[in-house]
């Protein structure tokens, strides 16, 4: 009896949680089509593709930001995490504390000076500049995670590689990276989701319509034209924007939960 109750409750809740997504996916391919009939078709996507300067450009822009953010985050936190765990250098603790301080300072409060600063260094209205800012926001979590990953590997592993004739760089590349790979995947996943979905930073930093990322372009679509909003195209846009996240999450779920329990909770 109690078991049935559990499954009924869970199933009802599951419907509630899935419903908005399923409805969006369904209505994105259903509705009034160009030939005047009501039914299935890709018309919403066709109108979406033609929105603004074309959804393809916005997709590429978003991808550029995400790739810059993921690459920079992974490279800096891997090298940084290694240095924090293995090397003694002056200012190590200071750097670690300052990086963790990023967590205490909500980035929305430093967006205004960042906007000015990016202008000074010529990265205003730049997808690379935006990607770098997104990477910095991921540094505390990533550095923490990678330092712990490297510390969990026995030093003997590295020493053995060095004795066998590896250079320090070679040992890092061939031996240690294998060991910390799960950590790297976790960080890449977190920074991808954050960069792909970011809204307020691109809204402020990107002033040129050609540079807009998907969330900003879709927001403009939702504001509508002369009071009428093309909800069909908007739903197609939401589906396009959400699909990569859902797929990536489902594939890498294990790593997500890992990052959660090791990084977020013990911090």
């Amino acid at each position: 009896m109690r078991r049935t109750g559990f499954y009924v409750t869970c199933a009802a809740l599951a419907v509630l949680f899935l419903f908005p997504m399923v409805w969006t996916a369904y209505s994105s391919v259903h509705g009034r089509q160009a030939d005047g009939t009501e039914g299935f078709g890709v018309d919403n996507y066709r109108r979406l593709a033609d929105f603004g300067i074309g959804i393809g450009t916005y997709l590429v822009n978003t991808l550029v930001v995400a790739v810059v953010a993921v690459t920079v985050t992974v490279v800096t936190t891997t090298l940084g995490g290694y240095a924090m765990a293995r090397l003694a250098f002056p200012g190590r603790n200071l750097l670690f504390i300052v990086t963790l301080a990023i967590l205490m300072v909500p980035y929305t409060t430093i967006l205004v000076p960042l906007y000015i600063l990016l202008g000074w260094i010529g990265l205003q209205n730049s997808l690379v500049g935006l990607g770098l800012v997104m990477a910095v926001l991921q540094l505390p979590f990533g550095l923490f995670m990678m330092r712990n990953s490297f510390e969990a590997l026995p030093v003997e592993l590295e020493e053995a590689a060095l004795i066998d004739g590896c250079t320090v760089g070679g040992a890092l590349r061939r031996v240690l990276l294998r060991g910390v790979l799960p950590g790297i995947v976790t960080i890449a996943l977190f920074s991808f989701l954050a960069a792909w979905n970011e809204f307020v930073a691109p809204l402020i930093f990107l002033t040129d319509g050609e540079k807009f990322t998907l969330p900003v372009a879709l927001f403009n679509l939702s504001v509508g034209n002369l009071g009428s909003v093309d909800f069909g195209a908007l739903q197609a846009g939401v589906a396009t924007s959400a699909l990569p996240c859902v797929v990536v999450f489902l594939i890498l779920q294990r790593y997500y939960v890992r990052g959660f329990t090791s990084g977020a909770l013990k911090g």
Partner: protein, 269 residues
């Protein structure tokens, strides 16, 4: 890495404080003007934004906390199929907040949405989900709960699972009923986890932007503090005043964070 942190974090932080003491238009030259910008904190629009943000934070934290805790209790035990349910409850958290807001904007505004069809079918006519301060607040809290419940469920579940099952056993042998076990065993041991979820929810809600910017655009007095910063900076084009509001917000959040972290540390022992 040090260079990145310096250029994109430390310098902006210093610049933020400096900007708050300058007349700094969006375009054109800036010059020091003392504490004049801080009059933005007495602006009625700002004060209304603060009240709305606080109201939103309290309601969200309570509703979201209760729903997530319920879900965590439901799925904490391993049994056949429970993993699939955990994944489903978590799935909305993989979708971006802006996408979620656009999805629900359609849900609330499109006549053909199931929500509006249901209201019509019930004979309630047309309900404006975002048309008043109260309904916009309720709608947003509902949406945020859908988006974040699975995320907080996961944190709370991890906390629940780390409680030694022997303690429940001992309580049961001593004749405790389920309510007593909940109040005397589960909740006290879960306090550090509960505090963590509270910190995350409070900080996140105080900085709310996407949901209200997209759903209402700040209309009907639903502007939050961050929307106020945005308005000062890019609509009034006064970056100095925006910086002053940012400094004040930052100061409050740091004090709040330090206080809450102290609380967690103490309870953790």
């Amino acid at each position: 890495m040090a260079a990145l942190v310096l250029v994109l974090f430390v310098i902006p932080l210093v610049l933020l404080v400096w900007m708050s003491f300058n007349h700094w238009p969006l375009l054109g030259a800036s010059q020091p003007n003392g504490v004049e910008n801080y009059s933005a904190l007495r602006d009625p629009l700002f004060i209304r934004a603060v009240w709305f943000t606080l109201k939103y934070t309290v309601v969200t934290t309570i509703v979201l906390g209760l729903v997530a805790f319920g879900l965590a209790l439901l799925v904490q035990r391993d049994r056949p199929g429970v993993g699939a349910f955990r994944t489903v409850f978590f799935l909305p958290s993989a979708v971006g907040l802006a996408s979620t807001s656009l999805l629900f904007y359609t849900m609330f505004q499109a006549d053909a949405s199931p929500l509006n069809q249901l209201v019509e079918w019930l004979g309630l006519g047309h309900f404006d989900w975002l048309g008043t301060n109260g309904s916009a607040l309720g709608s947003s809290v509902g949406m945020i709960t859908w988006r974040f419940a699975g995320f907080y469920m996961l944190i709370l579940m991890t906390g629940l699972q780390s409680i030694d099952p022997g303690l429940y056993e001992a309580a049961r042998i001593d004749g405790a009923n389920r309510w007593q076990i909940m109040w005397r065993v589960t909740l006290p041991l879960l306090r550090p986890t509960l505090a963590l979820t509270m910190v995350l929810s409070v900080t996140g809600s105080l900085l709310a932007f996407d949901q209200f910017f997209i759903l209402t655009g700040g209309r009907h007095d639903t502007a939050t503090v961050v929307i106020d910063i945005y308005r000062e900076a890019f609509l009034s084009q006064d970056l100095g005043r925006a910086a002053a509001v940012s400094v004040a917000t930052l100061a409050v959040l740091i004090i709040l964070n330090v206080a809450q972290l102290r609380l967690i540390r103490r309870e953790g022992r």
